[in-house]
Symmetry: none
Subunit: 125 residues, 2 copies
């Protein structure tokens, strides 16, 4: 479970309760079933999973998966995230979090959820 890295700190594999990722064979399984991902879908998910738990900015995703500079205006990232979420089924929004105004984050299944401090509540209480 978790991440397995080689001597150059490259992620070799990832696994949690529902998803497993083999970066060598480019094989992803969801609840034991093999996921069929297109190339871009795989590249995108792989990049997110390699930074599991960390926010990956849109700019970084667009640069690394598409080679786009931040100047380029495109919605293809959003569309690909949507298709990944569709294929992730019930766990979609749990696994792929939207960080408004910044980017996306892949959350390992058992990692503590991130909640924004609710200031209004604290003040009114």
């Amino acid at each position: 479970m978790g991440q397995l890295r080689d001597d150059t700190n490259q992620t070799l594999a990832y696994g949690d309760e529902h998803i497993s990722f083999d970066f060598n064979q480019q094989v992803v399984t969801l609840d034991g079933r093999r996921m069929t991902l297109t190339r871009k879908e795989y590249d995108l998910l792989a990049l997110l999973v390699q930074h599991a738990g960390q926010i990956v900015p849109r700019d970084a995703l667009l640069l690394q998966v598409w080679g786009y500079s931040p100047a380029i205006r495109t919605r293809t990232l959003d569309v690909h995230v949507r298709r990944l979420r569709k294929k992730l089924g019930a766990y979609a929004d749990r696994y792929i979090e939207t960080i408004f105004g910044i980017g996306y984050r892949f959350q390992p299944f058992h990692a503590p959820r991130y909640f924004r401090p609710i200031e209004t509540l604290a003040i009114s209480a």
Copy 2:
């Protein structure tokens, strides 16, 4: 049934419900009948069968069977795959899978549809 390998990990023979492959004699049988394959057809099928269950990229096939570099633009691989499928008859698409954008995969007849997480990190060139 399955694959038989020698001490240098070369596949000597392959067999499943319908196909048998003798790599020494270069004899292939389909449901007990000997298949007549041309040289290139045999080379291509042999390479796929030797990696049964694994995806073999187009580039690898073109390099190993034809000696072509990835730069060369040719459709001969597709044409040969077609002829092989024709000779494989009813099992054609079951045995020779197209992996879009990557290559082809020979699937043993009884291979499970889905794979559990892979522990062994066998890398194929």
